[in-house]
Amino acid sequence: MTQYLIRRFLLALLTIFGVTIVIFVAMRVLPGDPLAMIYGEGQGIYVLSEEEVAAARASLGLDKPLYQQYLSWMVDVAKGDLGHSFWVDTPISDTILRRGPITAQIALISITLAWLIGIPAGIISAMWRETWLDYILRFFVTLFMAIPSFWLGLAMVLFTVLFLNWRPSITITQFWDDPRENFLMVIGPSVAMGTGIGAMIARMTRTTVLETLREDYVRTARAKGLKEWSLLMRHVLKNALLPVITLSGLSFAALLGGAVAVEKAFGFPGLGSALAQGAVERDWMMVQNLTLLFAVIFVFINLFIDILYAWVDPRIRYS
């Protein structure tokens, strides 16, 4: 197990190294200089002379060779210096500290919602397969897998604005300041994301429970006269829910990636909308470091899930 742990950890570090290279190439090597928005031909906000452009590039360190630029970025990140936003002079680490908690909150609430809805729905669907109950559940699962989470968010905001005359707040209220206000703020995005992920989990659960129900040992248990309910609880669920753990990796991808558009739909001032705004405004440091943050979190969540899976199921460790 130790060997497995070490190997997985090193692979994760290698992946993160690759991620930094991809980000660096996208932001610095591809055309679309961070300064292009300011001095860009005809479309820029200001017109700068050649010398002024060169001076601006030098002040940002963009005149140095690429490998030096990469190294200084990495050194800064290692030191915990995530740089400043290009447009407003706030340190990016401040943005992360202020906006991170509420984004983490919606991630946590929506994944909890998704599991609370998805797993029972999947089990019910499998136990009462091919009945009207199963058909209704599957209809909703198929539907919610197709609805884009950000559009569900837009529709929810539309509903509250038109019928309840209430608009989600655009200022940050942390949980420790005012729990009620904070709840009103995070519940919308959490529901918009949780339903789609819950549908994904329900579908997966149904498949795995059905597969487990066909196993020989389940048939044996049933032949011994075990009631369906205790069969499910004692024999089926333990094995059926294992693959669902792996799926939680996928659901975190949907969560972290989906958060960007969902936050934007609600006007929610989280990390996702900071990244979206940064990308539109070509706020290069913001995009570089927030993308890195999202990827690092995602890689480590997946590492954790892999280890959990190997710990529960020894067959994985030796493959």
Partner: protein
């Protein structure tokens, strides 16, 4: 995912024939047998065909020009003149949906074709050749999959700017890695089968084995993945354009029609939110249903692997 096919196939009867893609038996009978076994899939396919035709003949069908602003009719609710209402510049929503569909569907089709062709070739090669090439490929796939959701596409579009070509490239990159993974696992399970080994034994070259003996086994999974990817690409385009990173205005796309409505208006117009969103949802739903039907029809063994 390197489990041999025999152990994956625990649930279905091993003797049951697997439907192959036999176009020789006549396209019509293939289509009618598909429609019989999965009516939902057939209905969805019909819907998509209709959608494709409508957007293809957008110029003839759309009642107005998609850019035509009518400042006398700003933000009008659905009426006899404008079936789905007008937007904040007085442009006809229905016409913009039809023209936008052309862009959104084109982005989805082109990016999916690209990612499936590259993913198939890469997956077969890396699965069959193995060794260092496979090791490096696997790491590249890991890196591409380390960016959750649409974030990799956002990164690229932030640098390159929006537009048809860049959106296609960005969305292609999103789905290549997943395709390589699935195809590689299929190749690994097929590689050690007796018929492949006998082909190698009688002296077939690696290229010949890959093209003649391995690739045909990947066609069914590729078709299933294609359908799922098309839905995924519609979603990705919608989300990216909604964020303002995808197809720029005034060209309509299903995604950018949703952008900025709620943020900019005190009392938003419901038709500007509901109709584009419903169109996107129905299209993704149809692609998903066709994908499910194809999977059940072509190869029931894929059930656990492509979800």
């Amino acid at each position: 995912m390197s489990t041999p096919a025999a152990t994956i196939d625990q649930t279905s009867d091993p003797k049951a024939p697997i439907q192959s893609l036999n176009f020789g038996q006549g396209l019509w009978s293939a289509v009618s047998s598909f429609a019989k076994t999965s009516p939902m899939g057939a209905i969805s396919a019909l819907f998509l065909l209709l959608l494709a035709l409508v957007t293809l003949f957008a110029d003839q069908i759309a009642p107005y020009h998609p850019f035509e602003a009518d400042f006398g009719a700003l933000r009008q609710a659905p009426s006899a003149q404008h079936w789905l209402g007008t937007d904040n510049l007085g442009r006809d929503v229905l016409s913009r949906l039809i023209h936008g569909g052309r862009i959104s569907l084109a982005v989805a089709v082109v990016s999916t074709l690209l990612s499936k062709i590259v993913g198939l070739a890469w997956g077969v090669l890396t699965g069959y050749v193995g060794s260092t090439f496979d090791l490096v490929s696997q790491r590249i796939v890991d890196i591409l999959l380390a960016f959750p959701g649409i974030i990799l596409a956002m990164l690229l579009l932030s640098a390159l700017g929006g537009g048809f070509t860049t959106v296609v490239v960005a969305i292609t990159l999103l789905s290549i890695a997943g395709t390589v993974r699935v195809i590689r696992s299929v190749v690994l399970s097929v590689k050690s089968m007796a018929y492949v080994e006998s082909a190698q034994a009688i002296g077939a070259t690696s290229l010949r084995v890959m093209v003649q003996h391995i690739t045909p086994q990947c066609i069914a999974p590729i078709l299933v993945l294609t359908s799922a990817s098309l839905g995924g690409a519609i979603f990705a385009e919608a989300a990216l354009s909604f964020l303002g990173l995808g197809i720029p205005q005034p060209t309509p796309s299903w995604g950018n029609m949703l952008g900025g409505i709620l943020a900019n208006q005190f009392r938003p117009q419901w038709w500007l939110v509901i109709f584009p969103g419903l169109t996107i949802t129905l299209t993704i739903l149809a692609f998903n249903l066709v994908g499910d039907a194809l999977r059940d029809h072509l190869d029931p063994r894929l059930k656990g692997r492509i979800n």
